[in-house]
Symmetry: C2
Subunit: 487 residues, 2 copies
């Protein structure tokens, strides 16, 4: 069975390849894996478990149904029908080049053959290939299923249209492709990582700082800045109203200072390896790699959701992608109470009982109310004109538990609307199972006076129609209840 | 008037000095500022406005009352009574040294004299000073009122006990002091920033990437990793179960590759300055520095609050600090309904109406319920034993608006308790103004069967006492209301 999204072949399923597989599959692609290593299926299983626990939690809409995932004994089997072929083999040029020979015997001519390499340029990868123009670099960052960056690089043999198509496909699985303007060793990001890494080795070798101290120097300071703005926007701010040129004139002279040992490379001998490994054990050894991965993924979800709520950095990538997964629902047919929410419950909504915390039932009903207001015409422009609603009263019945990862839906009925008062009835379900009801009374307000006011004419008319359409339905069970009322 | 927290003198009130001033003052310290520059008062006012909009939003408790802030024409006036003196003058050694001469004529012998310098070592700063042992480096990161890192450095003249005392004081204002083991130019973090900066200049000079592309290469990838783990913990994960030594053996050889141009420093001539400045204008010019600062601060708050909810990285610093600001309230005297919440409303709670979103009224009541359960004995250990409560029903009346930054308090009355049912009445106020009531019915449950069960004996007994103590109070206004009921 082929899903509507397409088929990706994953050649080499270590941590990086398995991360690609998980991202493609969770975004609805069928995934065909080739990796002769005995450990590969377990690595893939672990990556999928981590991805399923974290990637959906970044989104406020349900992701597409997962694609099918299959393992193949031959390259021919893996690349069959694939429109994207991702190679994540070990960093040996001869190995990659001979792999491409086999791939190109069997792959579709229009398929994109992308390498995860950080070390080789497209020209090196393409040398000796049957169709060099088919081969590009798409360099991701671990964990591939969460971090949006992929560096896209072609050579002078590469058709720019192919890079555009590659960028579109990566955007479609939620990534932020960065087209690199030229072929250079290590592309862009890894050059920075290399520079920092060398400096870090010197600091440790000289006993100036331990691994834990270096990590704190990063994550308590500039690491927080770099998760949302990068180097230049941060420095632009530091330059103040004088702007970037002012900053450069102030900061530039420091470049002449003999601040760094980077002119030389420390010898990574056994003594330095032992020193780093034992410091790292002291820093992180109490947690297994699996525990560290889970902590990392949870932290990244929290950071990226935080940025998403603000439309900033990697969060803006999420919002844009979300709109392509679930475009705003069209104005619904009345008289059925419309579905005003459909989403998976993110891990950040959990409480100590291990289920969705009570407060997020109101988060869900609040978002459902916003959705129905949008249909009625109360969009951002309408709010800018001073029309809004304030909630006066809410009654929630918690009928059954909702678990993290459950897909919830809310339907909303208009009990009264058209005038100043808006009386809504929400029902929250997991599948067919009713888990909560929410009864709300809202007032249309004038945002200038903060007092109740008639809705804008078109908004009022929509709610009048909705009330009439829903009027024939029987009263919902639980309507008008007060807290503690006997059933 | 001197507050209980102490007095800090701020010498030099540019962006860094003003940031220190805001952090100290918002954490309850009195702040005395010396800066002869005409622009200083405006820079301080702007920094305080940004800090007040963001720093309290990191915390889930109310911050101490702000200290008094005063400007002084003389160094003598500024350092009078100060236990912490922070110098953030321009990076000229002679200027700093002559400043210290004047400071030491007037400062208390026990005061800590700390420099914000990134470029000078403590030994250089101390040279020629009357009391060199009083002078250390406390190097912060912009924005100082949000980022926790401060690098603390002494020389061989520095008493380790003084560095300990300095670290305690910085911890007390919510920072994460990092004691640097040795004096080296640029301490630790700035060495990394320098290395990245030089590499970035080459990439731009060679036309490989623009400022915006470099920023994306950072904030869409490793910047997200570095906001929560640093370099080494991230690489430890990449090494998988083979551990850090395995990673080093795999990654180490790459160091020999000619990947970087760092052996040489690009000439920051006018052409390169112009190129960077115009790229930066294209990237960020649509927003003013003030807008960029507000965006940055809001993003940092979202990231740090996300990490705080997980107890990770800079978020753990916040949680630890919060516990020192507002230790868990002791078991309250009954029969007055106890105060179950007291906090400022963070910016992340806002909605498009510019006030606290309806869903966070339930967040507040939910936290209030957790607090009263804790007093009754239902702590984490009790939950681990399988005792908990599930909310069955909630009724909220939104009586008045709550704004971002408002300090809210909740009082909670026990209407019924001791058996399986727990009936609570919450009132949420800003000052004396009643803004919402929340009526909740909860059931004690057995977490194994997920069914209602009697509370643990001590918990039940506490609620029996609370119900009896509150029984004599008149029924609260609005009790037992249903949605839309006429008053």
């Amino acid at each position: 069975m082929t899903s509507r999204k397409g088929t990706a072949a994953i050649l080499g399923a270590g941590v990086i390849g398995a991360g690609w597989a998980a991202r493609f599959a969770l975004m609805g692609w069928d995934v065909r894996i080739f990796d002769p290593a005995a450990a590969a299926p377990q690595i893939v299983e672990d990556a999928f478990a981590r991805a399923r626990a974290s990637l959906p939690a970044l989104y406020d809409v349900a992701l597409p149904d997962m694609g099918t995932v299959s393992f193949h004994d031959t390259i021919a089997g893996a690349v069959s029908g694939a429109v994207w072929i991702q190679e994540s083999a070990p960093e040996r040029l001869d190995l990659k080049q001979s792999l491409y020979q086999q791939v190109q015997e069997h792959a579709a001519l229009t398929a994109i053959l992308a390498s995860s390499t950080s070390g080789f340029t497209p020209s090196e990868l393409q040398a000796g290939a049957t169709r060099p123009e088919q081969i590009i670099v798409a360099h991701p960052f671990n964990p591939v299923y969460l971090l949006p960056l992929a560096e896209l690089v072609g050579s002078d043999k590469t058709d720019p249209a192919l890079l555009d198509r590659a960028a579109d496909m990566l955007t479609g699985i939620g990534m932020s492709p960065l087209k690199v303007r030229g072929e250079i060793p290590a592309h862009i990001a890894d050059r920075f990582l290399e520079a920092v890494w060398r400096e870090a080795l010197w600091l440790i070798k000289d006993g100036v700082a331990t691994t834990a101290e270096i990590d704190d120097a990063i994550r308590m300071g500039f690491g927080l800045r770099w998760a949302q703005m990068g180097l230049f926007e941060t420095y632009r701010i530091a330059g103040g109203n004088g702007g970037m040129a002012h900053f450069l004139h102030q900061f530039g002279p420091a470049l002449q200072w003999p601040w760094t040992k980077l002119m030389d490379v420390p010898d990574l001998d056994d003594a330095l390896v032992d020193m780093i490994a034992s410091q790292s054990d002291a820093q992180s050894g109490a947690r297994s790699i699996a525990q560290l991965e889970a902590a990392r993924d949870g932290n990244l979800v929290a950071i990226m959701r935080g940025l998403k709520a603000r439309g900033a950095g990697a969060g803006a990538v999420l919002s844009d992608h979300e709109a392509t997964i679930a475009p705003p629902a069209p104005n619904p047919d009345l008289p059925t109470p419309p579905r005003t929410m459909f989403r998976q419950v993110p891990g950040t909504w959990v409480d100590y009982n291990g289920h969705m915390n009570e407060s997020h039932y109101l988060t869900a009903f609040s978002e459902a109310t916003d959705r129905i207001l949008l249909w009625a015409g109360m969009d951002a422009a309408c709010v800018d004109q001073g029309h809004s609603v304030f909630t006066v009263e809410t009654h929630i019945r918690h009928i059954d538990e909702v678990n993290i990862g459950d897909t919830i839906s809310v339907t909303t009925r208009v009990l009264q609307g058209g005038g100043k008062k808006l009386h809504l009835w929400h029902e929250l379900r997991v599948g067919e199972r009713l888990c909560a009801t929410g009864e709300q009374l809202l007032l249309h307000v004038d945002l200038a006076s903060r007092r109740s006011a008639a809705p804008r004419a078109d908004v009022g008319a929509w709610f009048t129609r909705a009330q009439a359409a829903h009027a024939a339905l029987p009263d919902p069970d639980g309507l008008g209840r007060h807290v503690g009322q006997r059933t």
